[in-house]
């Protein structure tokens, strides 16, 4: 394959956003007839690279060559003309139009300005049959078909526009196992037709099943390009997160003695699962224990947390807690059981923009008391001051609007909000993402000291060091499955890496 010339070659790509280097000196090449996986954790620059390639963002520095000659991609149209087509994660077609209309919209076959419907439908049917082995009625509205078919129609549209390079941005995230196989079948067929496919996914198994080559990005930088059969899974994961195993081994362990898991049982999830988000799993949480959830992005960590909090409704299994009747069906149920949840999505699911720091802090406590048992203004001020001091919130002004605080301080306000309700279990989903090192250490220390006082934690983080540092026990997730539970002496980076990478 490498004796061929690459169809697409990007060299020294730089892209800056105010305050961030999204891409710095990234190389990327794509050969005809290959499936090339683009891998990286959150913020690695995958989507920026794709947006640069499709002309959504302009390039600050660097060159893009298509079939040996330089092209400029400054708009999506130019990129399409050059032969690059993209199918995004969320299908961006019109569900109320027919399949054929969706494929040909904007480029309908015309004669004297009149659209030749029959020809269009015939062409669409032939296109789907020949290139995608798909035999469906193209005159039905798109919404009559499953997401998997819709995805294929999107691919057909992309192929029809221009067919040299096809970018599939997480095409499998909303498909079930059979649908994924159907998609892979088609990808193999397109590959043998000589198409170059850029494939972005979070599922390691799928990368190893379909790809020929892998490019890894980390923090906007190019890590390397590898043949799939020359890169072991564990190496892939290590390169993605950018750590050497031996470095991880030498981590200072903050929680010196492992607490044995024989303490009082707090919650037991048995066979808990939700179709399309997490396969059924069992997990028991004990009093005063920090359970870490490790896994790559999209492995189902957040989904586990949301089920425990009742933010999503499970469709199988349930959660029981000794001495309490009934399950957890809504956040209110969870809060009644003294469970608290700091979402990873601080902006959308955490802070209330328009309110002050004080109001944000007392909100959960007030909500659990109802409207009429109001917390007096004096008490509110006391509580706000107390927690601003305790959590070291800056600026220390309770009447500041929370939207004007930095990410780390917003996170501390959210922690304060939940600590005020004196939870027995605090679920922290990426509590330290996007906040500075100092605040990060403060939050980790807080978790440890509170757990010694008997509070339980479910701790989610993309940073393995952090999970290792605070957890008494770690549940490892891969591809929406809970694959392993690790505790005690086994809790070392090697074991966890092995479990995360699998295979």
């Amino acid at each position: 394959m490498s004796d061929q010339d690459p169809i697409l070659q990007m060299r020294g790509i730089h892209k800056r956003f105010p305050g961030v280097k999204a891409l710095s000196n990234v190389d990327f090449r794509l050969f005809p007839g290959e499936v090339h996986a683009l891998m990286g954790e959150n913020g690695a620059g995958k989507s920026t690279l794709i947006k640069v390639l499709t002309g959504v963002y302009s390039i600050d520095e660097g060159t893009v060559d298509m079939e040996g000659s330089p092209i400029s991609v400054t708009s999506p149209q130019e990129s399409q003309t050059a032969g690059i087509s993209t199918v995004y994660q969320e299908v961006n077609l019109c569900p109320n139009l027919t399949v054929a209309e969706n494929i040909y919209i904007g480029r309908e076959p015309r004669k004297f300005g009149r659209i030749l419907w029959k020809e269009m439908n015939r062409n669409a049917a032939v296109l789907l049959k020949e290139r995608l082995n798909l035999d469906i009625d193209v005159t039905l509205p798109l919404q009559y078909y499953s997401v998997a078919i819709q995805q294929l129609v999107a691919i057909a549209r992309a192929l029809n526009i221009s067919a040299k390079v096809l970018i599939l941005d997480e095409p499998t995230s909303s498909l079930d196992r059979n649908e994924v196989q159907q998609l892979f079948g088609i990808m193999r067929k397109l590959k043998s037709d000589g198409l170059a496919i850029l494939f972005v996914t979070h599922f390691l198994d799928q990368v190893y099943e379909i790809s020929d080559r892998i490019t890894i990005l980390r923090n906007g930088e190019f890590v390397g390009e590898y043949r799939v059969n020359e890169l072991s899974r564990i190496d892939l994961v290590l390169k993605m997160i950018g750590k050497e195993l031996n470095l991880l081994e030498e981590l200072p362990q903050l929680s010196q003695e492992y607490k044995d898991s024989s303490g009082e049982v707090l919650l037991t999830a048995s066979g808990l699962g939700r179709k399309g988000s997490i396969e059924p799993f069992d997990l028991t949480l004990h009093k005063g224990e920090v359970v870490g959830l490790a896994g790559l992005l999209g492995s189902g960590r957040t989904e586990v947390a949301r089920l425990f909090f009742g933010a999503d409704k499970p469709d199988q299994g349930g959660i029981t807690s000794p001495g309490i009747e009934g399950g957890i069906h809504s956040p209110r149920d969870a809060i009644k059981r003294k469970i608290a949840f700091c979402s990873e999505n601080r902006k959308a699911e955490g802070i209330i923009d328009d309110l002050t720091v004080r109001e944000n802090i007392i909100l959960a406590l007030q909500a659990s008391r109802g409207w009429f048992r109001t917390i007096s203004r004096k008490r509110q001020d006391e509580l706000a001051d107390e927690y601003i001091q305790l959590m070291n919130i800056n600026p220390p002004n309770p009447e500041h609007l929370i939207k004007n605080l930095s990410g780390g301080n917003q996170q501390k306000v959210l922690l304060a909000r939940w600590l005020l309700t004196e939870p027995r279990l605090l679920i922290l989903d990426e509590p330290t993402r996007g906040i500075d090192v100092g605040a990060k250490a403060e939050i980790q220390k807080l978790v440890l000291s509170l757990s010694r006082q008997g509070m339980s934690f479910l701790f989610i983080s993309s940073e393995l060091e952090e999970v290792l540092r605070v957890s008494d026990r770690i549940a490892v997730l891969r591809d929406r499955n809970k694959v392993k539970e690790i505790s005690g002496e086994e809790m070392n980076p090697h074991e966890i890496m092995q479990a995360i990478a699998g295979g």
């Binding site: 802070i351 923009d353 328009d354 309110l355 109001e359």
Partner: protein, 346 residues
């Protein structure tokens, strides 16, 4: 000065002040108030009296808008409430009897509560977008009011009922007391209980509010009920003032004036923070404007145009974007090259 300009009542009060100033210059006796037969008379009193129903409706609307909702049905509720009250009074033998009037008032208020509950249920329970959910009652409610009045104007002859909208207490129109009472109720409910906090929270970020454990559906339903109640009382004031109920025209376009009052008062249609006092000022601005237009004798065929021009001006003054654009223009007016430089720096 700068801090004062940031206060939410600054611009509404400026506009109201400007309107009053205009009136002072145009007709100096605008501000004269005379005491006759134990009643105060004057343009200012008229504005308060005739503006009372609008203030009431706008108070209810404020809370609805704060939850990122809207209630288009208030005009129809105004009509229904007046129609029901007048219908039940007109059927009585002694129209002035206190018992009969009380029954009429209570039944029309009860119905307003039910109509508010209906709106709240459609929005929170059935998940219909507020503008559509309340549009249903806006259309159907007008029909109901016409059914109740059989398309006629029902007149009543009840001195007891007339007192609500036209009577006076301690020389002031009684309607002012009703409005003040409802304003105090609204302020107490939202500022002395946690309801106000919950309303702002739900309006600002519904997802986060749910995850915080706020019963957002309950909050949403209650604001629509409260809004329905306010509209119901406004309907009583209007119909009592003229001792008659007109199913076709009572409360027509009230929803639009009320929304305008809320926005002028500084509450954003995007929900979140709300300002009840701002709304009251906003409603008074609209009423003053209407009174002014009548007083200076604008020909009837162009009153709506004049009104809309003033409203446009008010909205532009309040728009932060517009103000900063004007300020930038003003500051850079002498330096034609500046824009070019700024663009390059960016």
């Amino acid at each position: 000065m700068n801090r004062m300009m940031k206060h939410y009542l600054f611009w509404p009060l400026c506009v109201l002040g400007a309107l009053l100033l205009f009136n002072l210059l145009y007709s100096p006796d605008f501000f004269s108030i005379v005491l006759r037969d134990g009643h105060l008379y004057g343009s200012l009193i008229d504005i308060l009296n005739f503006g009372a129903p609008l203030v009431l409706v706008a108070i209810g609307m404020t809370l609805v808008i704060a939850t990122k909702g809207i209630d288009l049905s208030v005009g129809s509720i105004v009509a229904i409430s007046g129609a029901i009250a007048c219908l039940s009074i007109s059927k009585g033998s002694d129209q002035s009897s206190l018992g009969l009037v009380m029954t009429a008032i209570l039944s029309s208020l009860a119905l307003s509560l039910v109509l508010g509950l209906w709106n709240g249920f459609l929005v929170a329970g059935a998940g219909i977008q507020p503008i559509i959910a309340t549009l249903i009652l806006m259309v159907a409610g007008r029909g109901i009011a016409q059914l109740v009045t059989s398309g006629q104007i029902i007149t009543v002859d009840s001195s007891t009922y007339e007192y609500i909208g036209a009577g006076s207490l301690a020389t002031l129109p009684f309607s002012i007391f009703i409005v003040t009472a409802m304003l105090i109720v609204a302020l107490l409910l939202t500022r002395k209980t946690a309801l106000g906090l919950f309303i702002e929270s739900v309006g600002s970020n519904p997802t986060a509010s749910r995850l915080t454990g706020i019963r957002s559906n309950m909050v949403i339903i209650s604001v629509y009920i409260f809004c329905g109640l306010c509209a119901g009382i406004a309907g009583l004031l209007l119909s009592s003032n003229v001792s008659s109920a007109d199913g076709n025209n009572a409360g027509l376009w009230y929803e639009l004036d009320a929304i305008l009052a809320v926005v002028i008062g500084g509450t954003s249609l995007n929900g979140g923070r709300f300002y009840l006092m701002g709304t009251v000022i906003g409603a008074l601005i609209i009423q003053t404007l209407t009174t002014t237009i009548y007083m200076i004798g604008v020909p009837p065929e162009i009153t709506l145009v004049v009104k809309s021009v003033v409203v446009l001006a008010v909205c532009l003054i309040q728009s932060e974007t517009f103000r900063s654009t004007i300020m930038t223009r003003w500051k850079t007016r002498n330096y034609p090259g500046e824009k070019e430089v700024v663009r390059h720096v960016r």
